[in-house]
């Protein structure tokens, strides 16, 4: 996996791919933001630094890599880019490994078992495997991109699609979940609002759904009594307030007409609904 270095552009600056960083590490500020998006974290950045120099992951020159890594981090902090805490943790860890490498090691200890880089190397290799696995996964033929599901039409008459049953309590449970999520419903206005008003609003809209003008008075059913008339009236007011309905009176004392606010031609107060 590690032998072939990938020549993926490290960053795109004004459309031009950057395959390597300038040696002096100067990067235009724009590019640094790209930089942060380009790397998936400290391990990814470290892998990049290692691969860029064709170094063997198993034998990292820790002092060199540490210095480079810290230079990047300093640079990014200098530019006040928000840096994930993980980058700083890694910087500290690198510095620690570096200092341990510098310490003289007692002869008695087998050096294989004491390499301070071991844990870092293990993590780098592990991360690199899954970085590759992600690329492999992305390369698999997948629906909606490489393959598409087929949909043949089924002629009418053969489909006895049974719609799922719904329990009212299930519906209420769903509503409660939404309520729990939405602070909107904590307002007293909503809680006090009568459902009969909302129902009436729908009924009024239904009467007007053809887009024609309807005589204002025709929207009231006097047999409902006073309460019913009041609900209808409130419903109409509410619909006017929310700019769903409009009232039209051609001249003073002429009958008032109501219709849906919809820029639809052909409506004229004279072709009012027959009652």
């Amino acid at each position: 996996m590690g032998s072939a270095q990938q020549e993926l552009p490290f960053a795109l600056v004004q459309g031009a791919p950057y395959l390597t960083l300038p040696l002096d590490l100067y990067i235009p500020p724009d590019a640094l933001e790209v930089f942060l998006d380009t790397f998936e974290g400290p391990l990814d950045l470290l892998l990049y630094l290692i691969k860029r120099q064709n170094l063997d992951i198993l034998d990292i020159p820790i002092a060199v890599i540490t210095d480079q890594y810290i230079e990047y981090i300093d640079l990014m902090q200098g530019l006040k880019l928000e840096l994930a805490a993980e980058y700083l943790v890694m910087a500290a860890m690198l510095a620690e490994i570096k200092s341990r490498m510098l310490l003289p090691r007692p002869e008695s200890l087998a050096e294989e078992e004491d390499d301070p880089r071991a844990e870092l190397i293990r993590r780098l290799m592990e991360y690199e495997r899954f970085k590759q696995a992600a690329l492999d996964l992305d390369a698999l033929p997948r629906l909606e991109r490489d393959l598409f599901a087929v949909h043949a039409h089924l002629p009418a008459g053969h489909l006895t699609r049974i719609p799922p049953p719904v329990d009212l309590r299930e519906l209420l449970m769903a509503l409660r979940d939404v309520l729990a999520r939405a602070d909107l419903f904590t307002s007293h206005r909503v809680e006090k609002e009568s459902l009969s008003l909302r129902e009436r609003m729908s009924m009024v809209l239904d009467r007007l759904c053809g887009g024609q003008f309807v005589n204002f008075t025709a929207l009231f059913d006097l047999t409902e009594g006073r309460a019913g008339v009041v609900v209808s009236f409130l419903a109409i007011l509410e619909l006017i307030r929310s700019a769903t309905l409009e009232l039209v009176q051609l001249e003073p004392f002429a009958p008032i007409h109501v219709r849906l606010r919809e820029a639809r031609a052909g409506g004229d107060p004279s072709d009012q609904e027959e009652e």
Binding site: V150, H153, L175, S196
Partner: protein, 201 residues
């Protein structure tokens, strides 16, 4: 990788489309410089249609263009795909329905605001096809969004005489409400979620 033939491309497109495709739509699958003539397309469609004679599906000319459909001969069997075990509605659909019931008339945008996530077209379509909701008007604001309300059928289905029979919101919000009243019965029905054995749509 060789370039697939015109017929192969058209075959793929007709099967993927999920609805009829016109000649123009088929032409637009190709970049300008390789766009086939109508004649060539028609010839390819004809050859394709001939390929499917006597099979389980056929390519039919309908008003909207060409469409792949299950042959009437096998439809009685294929129709059984949807016969048993009706799928259950998603939580998103139930939430949408509940919000339309309690807040009608309401726009899709308003539902989305409350739910905090998008309401898919499929949900609105399903609820409309089931005749539980309908469009009762349009709000007079940019885009003139449709206003949804519940229907008589909705009330009938849930055995309600009117929306007023629905419990008030305050009651639903009470944590005790569903906990006590709904007990095991509901738990049971919730548990019977469709398994991953893809219930065909």
């Amino acid at each position: 990788m060789s370039t697939p033939s015109l017929k192969t491309i058209i075959e793929g497109a007709l099967f993927a489309a999920g609805g009829p495709l016109t000649l123009e739509q088929l032409q637009e699958l190709f970049a300008e410089e390789e766009r086939p003539e109508r004649g060539a397309l028609l010839a390819a469609i004809e050859t394709l249609a001939a390929d499917y004679v006597g099979r389980g599906i056929e390519i039919a000319a309908v008003a909207g263009g060409w469409r792949v459909q299950v042959r009437a001969l096998v439809a009685p069997w294929v129709g059984r795909l949807w016969d048993e075990r009706p799928a259950r509605y998603s939580r998103a659909l139930l939430e949408t329905l509940a919000l339309i019931a309690y807040r009608q008339p309401i726009t899709r945008g308003e539902i989305e605001d409350i739910r905090g996530v998008a309401v898919t077209t499929a949900i609105i379509k399903t609820l409309t096809e089931r005749e539980w909701i309908r469009i009762v008007g349009h709000r007079d604001c940019p885009g003139r969004p449709a206003l949804f309300a519940t229907t008589r059928k909705f009330l009938d289905y849930f055995s309600l005489r009117s929306l007023n029979d629905l419990p008030p919101l305050a009651e639903i919000r009470d944590p005790a409400f569903l906990a006590d009243e709904m007990d095991l019965d509901l738990r049971g029905s919730l548990r019977s979620e469709p398994g991953p054995t893809a219930t065909p749509r």
